[in-house]
Every structure is written in structure tokens, then in C-alpha cells.
Amino acid sequence: MNTLLKFCGMTNYEDYSKAVDSGVDYIGFIFAKSKRRVNPHDVHKWVKGKPKKRHQKLVGVFVNETIETIVEVIHACPIQVVQLHGLETAKYITELKSSLPAMKIFKTVHHKQSGHRELKDFKGYVDGYIIDTKTEDMWGGSGIAFNWESVPLYTAEAMEQGIPCFIAGGVKVSNIKELMNYEPAGIDVSSGIEEMGMKDERKMKQMVELTKEKYQAPDSLGRFGKFGGKYVPETLMHALEELEDAFEAAIADEKFFEELHREWERYSGRPTPLTEAGRLSSYLGGANIYLKREDLNHTGAHKINNAIAQALLAKRMGKNQIIAETGAGQHGVASATVAARFGLTCKVFMGEEDMKRQELNVFRMRLLGAEVIPVISGGKTLKDATNEAIRHWVSHVEDTFYLIGSAVGPHPYPKMVREFQSVIGRESKEQFIKEVGKLPDEIIACVGGGSNAIGMFYPFIEDDVSLIGVEAAGKGVDTNEHAATLTKGSVGVLHGSMSYLLQDEWGNIIEPYSISAGLDYPGIGPEHSYLRDQGRVTYESVTDAEALEALQVLCQYEGILPAIESAHAVAHAMKRARELGSDAKILVCLSGRGDKDVHTIQGVLGGNEYE
């Protein structure tokens, strides 16, 4: 868990600006009698001059103030949290809340013996606590630490109330690690980041680095929090261990990367362009939309990024037979393609239902020299094709490489697919900064298993950018026909990893539905489940009808026919563009082109007047 960090007592624009840049979670201004007291109109000017980051919150500190004065200050400057640092009572807080109903309230409790019991008096009234040392002549900011042995008591009580508790008083760069041993939920620093009365940029950065863990999921067992892992028959365990070793060695080997980048560049046509959707944006009348053009890859979708990389890995491991599962046929086509390119034999498992729906892709795979194996178990779609591919792998584990197409499956697949698809996000970041001069405000990608989304999101995960995954709502999330795993699913194990799933009360998997065969999967990559639960990525859903509408708009305004999968992301971007102001920039991962879907689209929209 990351420890929350608050820097308090900004007294001038420079200090405030350094605090914003440091990435700290809360920035505090003191409106009470103090050597650090500031004027709300100045704060207003500073914030206008330099907007805070999205995750940051501005805190106003008051001591035994009248409610009218607090309200006046709040009207004068953009504060999100009021910190009451004196002897305010629960009754006073109730009155304050009736004047400022949306305001978050933090209450300072001054440390004393059994002080944690005092927190009970404010249960339900406040949104957070600060525990500070009170000296005889000062309400706080004395720079004196209390005995941290009692930190766990405060933290536990606040946690029980479901709110954070910040430890203040005498925290410095030199002792913050010691404080963190007591596992506080938050830390509040004021004099500890000052040098000669001014806030010190280096100290701020050090504090942030000391309290923030880098994003480093999955762990060595392949766990993203509780998600992921390896839930497979024992027969596959050795193969997975072998794969993991080979994968880790490959990505540490420059030669492997050189070859991979050469193939991406000269065979698949990377880097794919970033296209500003100017006419679409002005039609919508809001934010500017940019499209990362994965549809311009060889074979027409992002799937080839991963297929090339895994095929190179298979070759490196001396395995000449690859197998793959496919739903719509995009990953099957990508696998058949790389098998031809690298001289490997290829078997593609495909549900019989999907083979009927995607006849052309079946022919295309066969043309590329792959064997397409019809799957007749279960619902005869992607889930069953995956089961059958795993069964085949179990039988031929010594000489066969299973080329999984999405960020799903047992460890190391979710990590490996993320690594190989991250080229999408890395390129996007570089292109965006070059063309727009800053990072996008929001990034939107569609999610089935989640490979294009994780590839796009991962390089931005520690940046100040909103990330939104879009699931397929099919005919609506309140019907039985959808594929909205995160919106409607529950935690379970499918295809080797723990994640959210669509399942019945007895743990049997429910067949999903979406017009797009690529989003029609009852599970989701374990990292998405983790990012959802962590709150780092937001997941929304878009219906068949909304996706088809977006698909037509993109055709008509930009001359781009997206895959129905990608049209889900476009549909949500259209919603968001109208909601956000014209200053905002939205980046959409256009994961694939819609040529494969023309038949399906025609079936829904009509227009086949010659039949």
C-alpha cells in the first residue's frame, strides 16, 4: 500500500508550485493565525497560475474559526478539504457541513495518552484525521514528534471508520522510514520539507519517493494483488516455469529486442501513427480526440505485436509448433501470419460457432498455411476454443508453444502479453508529447481479455492521466446478453488465473454476448481486475448499438472504419469529449480495423439491396 502524503503550510507561489510538481497527494494552506498564514485570494491566484494534478487535493487549515469565515475562504479559493485544527466539536462539524455539504472534513486530534479513543467522538462526522503534537503555545507545526508507538492504535481506529489518518509533527527525510515501520495510512509534513523557511524541492521529492512504491505488479508468483497466479494442471507447471525463464532471459537480451523491433518496424509497419480526429472533435464540440492507429498494423490489428514477439520467443526456445485460440479470428490470423513468417507450424483452435460467423478469417488462416481446428465443446466460442487449446497443449507440452493472444491465462502470460503490447503506450506517449506538447488527459481503450488496453495503459500508469477501459455491454448490462465482466462479474478462476468472471452461483462460467467477437469473453486479464480494485483504471461499458453508432460516425467524419471492438472505445470517447472542455485531450486506442466486420455490420444496418 502507498502511504498518503500531505505537504502543509505553503506560503508562496514557488512553494506551492514545487509541491504540485513533487506529486504529493495533499497540499495544505494555513488560514489560521500562524507564521505560515496565507490569504485565500493569493491561493486562488497561485492555483490559477499552476493547476494542481488530477489526484492532488488542496487542504485549508483552520483553528477554532467561525463558520462564516470558513465559508468566505472556501468561496475565495478552490479548497477540497477543510482541516479543523483546534477544539472543534462534532456539533460544530454538523453545522459546518450544513453550510458546505460537499466539503471533505479532516479533524486534527492532538496526541495524548489514549488519544485514539477521542477519534470515536468524530465517527461519521469527518473524512480523515491528523494526529499532531500540541505544544503549550502552538496548535501544531511545532516540528516535535510524539511517541510513534501509538501510531498503530490511531491508524486502526481510523481504518475501522474507513477513513485515513495522517501522522504529523516532526517528520523529516531522516526519520520518515522509521515512522513508516508503524504503517501509518498517511503522513503530514511541514517543517520537515523546509530549508531556511522555504520549502525545499529536493526534500519534497525525497519524501515522495520514500513513501510511494513504484508500480511493480505482478510479484514473482504472478500475482497482481490477489489476482493472477497459475491455476493449471500439474502437467503444465514445468512448461510455464520454462516459459517464464525463457521470457525473462529474452527481454533482458538486447539481440532479442533488436530483432523484435526490426520485425515490428519492417514487417508490421510500426510505429503506427497518431492521428488527430479533427472533424470528429469539432462535430462533438468538446475535447480533442486523438487516435492511436493500431488498425494500420500488418493484418489489421494490435494482435500482431504480441504474435511476432511470442513467435520469436518460441523459436528461441526451439519450439517449432505453435498453437493459438481465436474468437473473431484476428489473433488466429496474426498467429498464422507469424508462423508463415518464421517457418513454424500452426494450429488454431476456433469454436464452430465462430467459424460460421467468421468464415472469411477461417479461409484466410488456411491460406496462410495454418490448420484450423473446429471446437465443438460448450458454447463453441472463444472460451471453449481456449479450453481446447489448453487441452492440446497439455498433450503436447514438450514440443508445442502456446501463443496466447490476450493478457489472460496463467503467469507469465499476462505479464508477457503486457510487455509485448506496451509498445502501443510507449509510442503513444512519445508521439503525444511531440505533437501536443503534453500528456493526454484521458486514455480510452476497449477491453475483452484486455491486451490492447493494458499495452496502452501500462506506460502511463504512474502518470497523471485518467485511464478508462471500455467493456462490451452487448444488449445492456441489465440483460443476460453482455460481456461486462468487471461491471457484472465476480472473482473466480478461468483459464489459469484468478480474475473477475461471468459465472453462476456454483462457479460455472456463463456464456457472454457481444456483437464484437473479440470482446465476447467471460473473463478479463487479471491485471485489469487489480487496476479496477486499486482504483487506478476506471471501467465503463458500451452497448452494441452505441458501438455501431460510433463506428458510423468515425467512418463519416474521419474516413476510418474501426473494428467493432475498437468502436466501443470510440463510443465512450465521444461521450467524454462532450463532457470535457475543449482544452482537454483524449487519446483512444484504435485497436483494429473493421474490414473483417463489414459483413456483420451490413447484417445489422442493412444496405444489401442487391440480395
Partner: protein
């Protein structure tokens, strides 16, 4: 008392353990089959729980699971079926065979308490490798149920780690692949079993693909017994109409008994 740890099972040689799918063709028939198997002298029964996505199973057991699921079989009813079988006189050890997802859906704690209540002795989860099994193994120990581990030809240097946690018996998977009958077996099986014996005294039973009397007698020479699944489940599938009707039931059960006696002769 866990019957897998009882001297009767521990000291037996040439153990014969059949697998059947609970609820195929009906729960009542499964109970009759279990009692018939006991009469035929089998040493324990693996009692299968149907699941929508059984990725370690071949077509025979997949289809049996679909038949059972169609009639509403689920993990809770399957456990309840053992309780009914116990009431009707089933005294040999029973091992519940379920994929991990139904176990998680009902909840590990709740499942184990239902299993204790039904006098079930072991639990086998084919998609739960040793790395993922610590928490459920601890819960199993608390209630005296053995968590049966699997070892395969590809386990290699994993064998020692798996044996350390072995209890009841060790299920040795004879071949790469899913359940189903096979014609031939690798000669390396005997070597692997010898390796296992270096690390544990727990009996090692061989399963996957065993369908002929000569398979049974061969594995009885190199291991502590056999597990027979698909071949029996296939026969039950053939006899499903007989087994579902009062008039023909005895005939169906007799065929099952004959099959076991012949296989285990």
C-alpha cells in the same frame, strides 16, 4: 476418522480406485453405482463434481459432466450425494474431485464443513498446483481431510516439493494430456515413481488412460494401485437409460460390476 489414513487403506496393496461423475445419469444412480463398486471390492471412490470448463478432461468426462449439469448437479448437491450414500451403507473412502472454481464459488470453508458432515475423506483439485494450495491445505488439515496432490511425468524437480505435502495418496498422471483411454504408456513412469518413493511413504496411484486388465496388472507391479475414470464413465454413459429406470437398473449395475471385476482380475 479419515479412511485414507486408516490401516485398511494404508496397508492395502494393488488399490483400485474408480472415478464416477456425481449425477450422471442421476444422483440416485450415482449412489447405486457407488454401492455396487463397493460390493465389487474397490478400495475408494473418486466422486466428480461437474464444471462448465473441465480443462483436464477429455470428451468422455466432459460429456458426463454436461449430462449431470443439465439435471441440476452442482458442488453442494454432489457433497450431499455422498452423505446419502453413507446413509445407505457406503463405508469405503471417498475423494471429492472438483475444479478450483466451484470450490471458490461455494467457499473453501463452507465446502470443507459440508464435506466433513458428509464423511468425505479426501479432496482433489486438478487445476490447483502446489504453489497455489497452501491456504486450502491448511483448512483441509483442520478438518482432517486429505488434499490429494498430482504428479506427472513433467514434474521433474518439482517432485520433492509436491511430496512434502502429500497425504492420503499421490495421484500419478500416467501421460501428458487429458483424461481418456490410451493404448500405451511411457516407460519412464516407473522411474518417476521410484523418485517419488525417495521422498514419501504415501501410496502412489496411477491414473489417466487405464482401460484394460493388462494396464491394471502392469501398474500394480510398479505402483501402489490404479485409478480408472473415463473407461468406467464411458460404460455408465452407455448404460444411462438402464440406470435411470427401476426395471433395468439391476442389469446396468451388473454390467458395471462385471467391468470392474474383469479389469481388476
Amino acid at each position: 476418522m479419515n479412511r485414507l489414513l486408516d490401516p485398511k487403506f494404508v496397508n492395502k496393496t494393488k488399490r483400485f480406485v474408480p472415478y464416477i461423475m456425481a449425477g450422471d445419469p442421476t444422483l440416485e444412480a450415482s449412489i447405486d453405482i457407488a454401492l455396487t463398486l463397493q460390493e465389487a471390492g474397490v478400495d475408494a471412490i473418486e466422486w466428480g463434481v461437474p464444471f462448465s470448463d473441465p480443462l483436464a478432461d477429455g470428451p468422455v468426462i466432459q460429456e458426463a459432466g454436461e449430462r449431470a449439469r443439465k439435471l441440476g448437479m452442482n458442488i453442494e448437491r454432489a457433497v450431499d450425494g455422498v452423505k446419502l450414500a453413507r446413509e445407505k451403507g457406503l463405508t469405503i473412502p471417498v475423494i471429492l474431485f472438483s475444479y478450483i472454481n466451484p470450490v471458490l464459488a461455494i467457499g473453501e470453508g463452507r465446502l470443507l464443513s459440508l464435506m466433513s458432515d458428509a464423511d468425505i475423506d479426501g479432496l482433489l483439485i486438478p487445476d490447483l498446483p502446489v504453489e497455489e494450495s497452501d491456504s486450502i491445505r491448511a483448512e483441509c488439515r483442520n478438518v482432517g481431510i486429505s488434499l490429494i496432490p498430482l504428479i506427472t511425468l513433467s514434474s521433474r524437480d518439482r517432485i520433492e516439493k509436491i511430496c512434502q505435502n502429500g497425504e492420503g495418496f499421490i495421484y500419478f498422471v500416467s501421460s501428458h494430456g487429458v483424461t481418456g483411454t490410451r493404448e500405451s504408456f511411457s516407460e519412464k513412469i516407473a522411474d518417476s515413481i521410484n523418485t517419488i518413493k525417495k521422498y514419501t511413504d504415501v501410496p502412489v496411484l496411477v491414473g489417466f488412460g487405464i482401460s484394460q486388465p493388462q494396464h491394471v496388472s502392469y501398474f500394480n507391479t510398479i505402483s501402489d494401485g490404479v485409478i480408472v475414470g473415463s473407461a468406467l464413465v464411458h460404460l455408465i454413459g452407455e448404460q444411462k437409460y438402464a440406470l435411470m429406470h427401476k426395471r433395468d437398473k439391476v442389469e446396468g449395475l451388473d454390467k458395471i460390476k462385471e467391468f470392474v471385476l474383469e479389469l481388476n482380475s
